[in-house]
Each structure stands twice: as C-alpha cells, then as structure tokens.
Symmetry: C2
Subunit: 382 residues, 2 copies
C-alpha cells in the first residue's frame, strides 16, 4: 500500500496536491531547489536540490512509494533515472517525453485522430521563412521544450518579428504554429489510473491576459456537442498516452472547430476550482490515480464556479482588500505562501460559486476589484 | 495584519485547522509534546514542548501573531502567561477558565437563562451521597476538569457504583450530574469575531458509542422550532462568553426539552463535516474569527451529510477497505497521520453526502462495514 508520495516541484500545484494528500493521510516529500517553497511548507519533508541532481532524485525515490511531478519541465533524465532504479513514477517517463516536447506532442495528438493547429519544426532561420510561407501569418514561434505562462513564445506578425524572435530564441529548437482567431479557449481535466479507469471534469472556459491565465469559468458556455467532443478527445488521449495521473488538455474553439493547443501531464491551474466546487478535487483525483485507488466521476456541488488568479503587482508584497473580498459568502481564498509578489507572479487565487456563469462572473469581477497590493515596507507591522 | 497563527495542541483538530490556515496563506506554528504530531506534520514548525513549559509557551507567542488552542485541557496558567505578556490569545483565558471547569460552565449557562442538567458539586464521599439523594439515580460522576471521550466519567446506578467511582476519582474535584433519558444528542458550531459578528452552522445530531462520538448527521432530524432554540442559545452563549473563535455546544433533547450538556471552546469533532459539505468550514471560520476577518453565514452545499469517525481497533495499524469505501462517489476520506491505531483512538473520519439524511446514513453504514484494521506486521511491505 502506498504511504508516501514524492513530488518533483514545490510550487502552488504541488502545494494543493500536498494539502489533499495530507488530508487523505499520506506522507509527502517534495524535491525543489528553493527553500520554504509553497509545497515544502506543508509537506512532511522538502529535499532542497536541483531537478538535475540525480543523487537527490534517487533519494526522493528511495524515501517514497511513488514519485510524481507538478510541472512538465523536469529533466527527462531525472525520471528515467528513477525508472531505471525501478521506482514507480506517475505519469511515466514515456508520457513526459511526449508532452514536454511540442513537436512530439502535436504529432501524438494527430495520430490520435484529433486536430491541432498547423505547425512546422524550425531549426534554422530559413526553416522559419519556409514555415511562415506555408502556414502564413500571424503565427507563434515557440521553443519546443520549456517555457510557461507565455515565456519562450513570440507572436509573429511579419518579417521583423520573425527576425527578433529567432534571435531571442538563441538557437533553441523551435516550432512555428498558426495563430488563428478563436472564439474561446477551453480546457479539461482528466484522470486515469493503472487499471484503465478514466474520469473527466466538466469543460472549463479560460481567459488569458498576456499569456497568463486570468479567469476560468466552469462549466464552459458551449454547446453540449462541443463539450462531448472535448471529453471524448480527453478519453482518447488518456488511453493513447497510457497515462496514470490527472492531466489537462487545452483547446482552441473557432466556431464549431476544436483544436488541441497543448497537453499538461499534471494537475492544472484551470482545475483549481475543483477544490471548492466538486465532490473530488483534481488533486485528490491525482492522488487516487497514482496510488491505485478507484477513480469515480466527480460531481459539481454548484451550478457554476469562476476561478480568478491573483497575480503579483510588482509594487508590494501584502495583499490588501482581503477583508472586503471575504464579505462575499460565495468566495473561497487560496494563497500560496510566496513572500514576494513579483509582477504577474501567481500568488494565489479565489473561486466564486454562482447560480450560473453570469452570476459567478459578476461576483468574481467585484472581488477582483477589491484586491490590491500594498508595499508593506511602508506599513507599520502593528 | 495577522500572518502567523500559533496552535496549542497537535491533534486532528489542529491538523484540519492547519490545513485550512495554510490554504488561506498563513504561517502556522504548533506546540505539542509529541513529535510528528498530526498537526505538526503539516504546520510550518512544531515546537516540541509540554503545555506547562512557560518558556516554550512564551516562544510560541513571540513567533506568532495570535495563539489559539485545539483542546480545552491546556493549563490555564499557560494562557494567562501569554496574556500577561500581551500576546493575543483567542479564545481568551477568561473563556477558557469557565469552559474548562464543569461547575463554572454550568453556572454560566444558567446565568444566560439556558437550561442544563441538574448537577451538584462533590468534594467528599458525603457530598456524593447528598447529591444522589437530591438529584436521584442514575447519574454521572465527572471530574470537574480534564477528561474527554468518556474518560474521567462514571455512570452511577447505585451505591456500589458510587463507591467505586469516588475511589477511582482519586480525590479530584467532582460534579454529579443527573442522567436523564434523552431522545437525541445535538450540537451546534458557532463562531464569533472581535467585531461581534456571530455565525452558526446547522444543528447536528450525534450518536455516541461508549462515550466516543461515532456519527454526526447534519442537519439534525428535529423540528424547526428546536433548531431555532439551539441557534438562539448558541448566539446568547457566544455573546455572554465574549468569545472570539469557533466553538461547539452539545445539548440533550428530551421530548421538546433542551438542555446544554457542555461547551467546547474550540473547533469540534461534530463540525468535521463542514470541510466537505459547507461553503466555509468550521476551521476556516475559526481562522477568520481569530484573524479579524469577516464572518459570513456558511451554507450547506448538499441537502444532508453524515460524518463517521474511524476508530482504532487495537488489532493492527493499517486500514483495510479504503479502495472499496472510495468507490462511493459521495464519500470523502480524512486520515490523521497517526501511526498506531490503538483501541478506540480517533484515526480518521469519512463524510458521506446525501440527498437526505436517510440516504446519507444508508451509504455511511455501507462504508463503515467496508473498513477494517489489518495487522501490518503480518503483511509483506511490497
């Protein structure tokens, strides 16, 4: 029986995963290079080490029954070393290899019979010109590996953008993707266990701001047929990857045309709402999946929920307006224990329950306006 | 602004309080004599010290912005030392003084105009005889301070019981209480902040087994007028105590006659359900109260919920049947991270959501039957 879970990565996703794993009675050991990390604050133990340090990675495996990860930019070599050492890693190195490389991921999705945006591999400046000629403008140039929240991504509107982006990429392998207008960004959380049980959450509708997720609305305001198509795609991808764990898929919806944007082989920002609004959170579902517990369909506890990310303002580290926010009885606040509210850093989130999406969105917008950052160097610590 | 919370006591109530405080972004420091305590596993720090060790109690006060406690058998001197040191303790020493002494507590409740069972102070064996003569048999002899889960309590049916109980009490101050037949045991969670805001949870109906809480059903299956009377009593007691924090009151209901059994000045076993079935848990409400955040009325997310305590069997430390239990999509499991499942020790609990009380009770009983303890010394640790 699994009694200890190892987590690579100590950010907010690892923190919420740890909170749920502890609630269920597991020991949790986090490996993360930064001390006092959001997840490490709550875990039984934090191993402070680089993800590439195979000695400490091995230590994490030795101290736990199953190892998982909270972000996909873990060096594949670390996962492969654990697996060579016969440690259980979930999702497996095979899943990570595909999902951490944009070209492999898109190829895999297409092999599943599911549409993606048009794309081309870019090695040289000449490749980029060819890709633009073939796929047309505008497009997005991305590093094939790494990058998150819009980092390592450049919008290309013309030749000048292409030159600047190619230079900024500094020789890293690249992918050029079509940037088509879309009506909505959608996502779904799905989980699968080793017994092959698969469950899906309701489809979420997401609004980004400057490449960073701002708001998630659940359930998405889409036709039932589209929701069914999203769910079927998730089930197909789950089985195709042979994944064990919770994961997310992001989609673009243009008219009735659905395209996979990317797969994240881990719990996801767009699934935070499930802590407050579903019978089983994505974090518990991930624990169930990796610990060989049964997966049963989650149910929404309310008709609609909106999640709002609380991003750093770069102007102070103390969040003001919390008292006012918490006056709304439908609000639940989650803060990640990060000391410094750097500009656009994910510091926390709040969810708002509603009788429908409009009701929740209206209250979410009121809540968002109440929060502001205060420079606490200028505030007496009474 | 409060940023660090100190908790005296490291048991399961402190654990769930810590989980909710961490979710909200607070630092948490627990003081508890036993290492690797349920709460200490999750808190940022645990100070391992006796509750009577004023040096470490002072250290807890110095490291945090507000100190609270998860059980009422903390030495009053520890709280008074913190208050003398101008530390904020919530609930205050004044509240603890009354609620940790059964005679003072009953006198206070009566001064609030609320009925209690008949009782008499017992110092000598002669006092006990007088009390039995006045109040009649059967009755319960209890130590005025300390004791929980039926410890320090003796049912008195006749002279032989009285002699044995008086001897077992070993000279501790005692109270003799009438033991009248009752139809239901009820309880309510209430919270009050320093601004005087008071909120109450739905009335809960409790079933004990051998002095230990077995099952809580929410909402209680009682007439609306009784629920109103319970809520009004809680509001009166909250104001009368001038309490800051969440607390519980236990009642006996005989016919339409309501009697206060006891007040617990802390989060309570009968409020566990609120983590899964209410918009704001009793633990969050306590954090809000002691950290000067607004109190807003909690709402139930489902029509009914049942909480079942998972007690140790004394026959093994590994819980079997978890896979089967978690097949029910309405079940949520909470385990406390205790290594040894001593007989009748509170090891965890599960809640079951239901369309009504009968539905939840039926599924709870099915769930309870699935769980059993396994002697893991006899199981290979694969």
């Amino acid at each position: 029986m699994t009694s200890a879970i190892g987590i690579l990565g100590g950010g907010q996703l690892g923190r919420m995963l740890t909170l749920e794993a502890k609630r269920m009675g597991y020991r949790v050991v986090v490996l993360e290079p930064l001390t006092n990390s959001p997840a490490g604050q709550i875990a039984d133990e934090q191993i402070v080490a680089a993800y590439a340090d195979l000695r400490f990675i091995g230590e994490l495996g030795a101290r736990t029954d199953v190892v998982t990860y909270e972000f996909e930019n873990i060096p594949l070599a670390a996962i492969e070393a654990l697996e060579a050492d016969r440690r259980l890693v979930r999702p497996s190195g095979g899943v990570l290899r595909i999902t951490q490389e944009r070209l492999l991921e898109k190829q895999f999705v297409r092999e599943c019979g599911i549409a993606t945006v048009d794309y081309a591999a870019v090695g040289t400046h000449g490749d980029l010109g060819d890709a633009i000629a073939e796929i047309s403008l505008p497009g997005v140039l991305k590093t094939t590996m790494g990058g998150y929240d819009g980092k390592g991504q450049w919008l290309i509107r013309g030749a000048a953008d292409a030159d600047a982006a190619f230079g900024a990429a500094k020789g890293r392998p690249l992918i050029y993707e079509a940037f088509s207008p879309f009506d909505k960004e959608l996502s779904i959380i799905c989980a699968r266990n080793a017994a092959g049980e698969v469950v899906t959450y309701p489809v979420a509708e997401n609004e980004h701001d400057g490449g960073v997720l701002a708001t998630t609305i659940v359930p998405a305001r889409i036709a039932p047929a589209i929701a069914d198509e999203v769910r079927r795609a998730a089930e197909t991808i789950a089985a195709g990857l042979d994944i064990v764990g919770a994961f997310a898929i992001e989609f673009f919806l243009a008219g009735e045309h659905l395209l996979v944007n990317e797969i994240a082989p881990r719990v996801h920002n767009t699934g935070h709402y499930s802590l407050d609004a579903a019978t089983i959170s994505q974090y518990e579902m991930h624990v169930r999946a990796i610990c060989d517990l049964p997966l049963v369909p989650p149910r929404m506890l309310v008709p609609a929920v909106v999640m709002v990310n609380i991003l750093g303002g770069g102007s102070g580290d103390q969040l003001g307006g919390v008292n006012e926010l918490l006056r709304d009885p439908d609000v639940s606040l989650h803060m990640y224990g990060k000391a410094h509210a750097a500009l656009r850093r994910k510091m926390g989130h709040f969810t708002v329950l509603g009788s429908d999406a409009d009701d929740a969105l209206r209250k979410a917008e009121l809540g968002r306006r109440k929060l502001h950052w205060i420079d606490n160097r200028a505030v007496s610590r009474a």
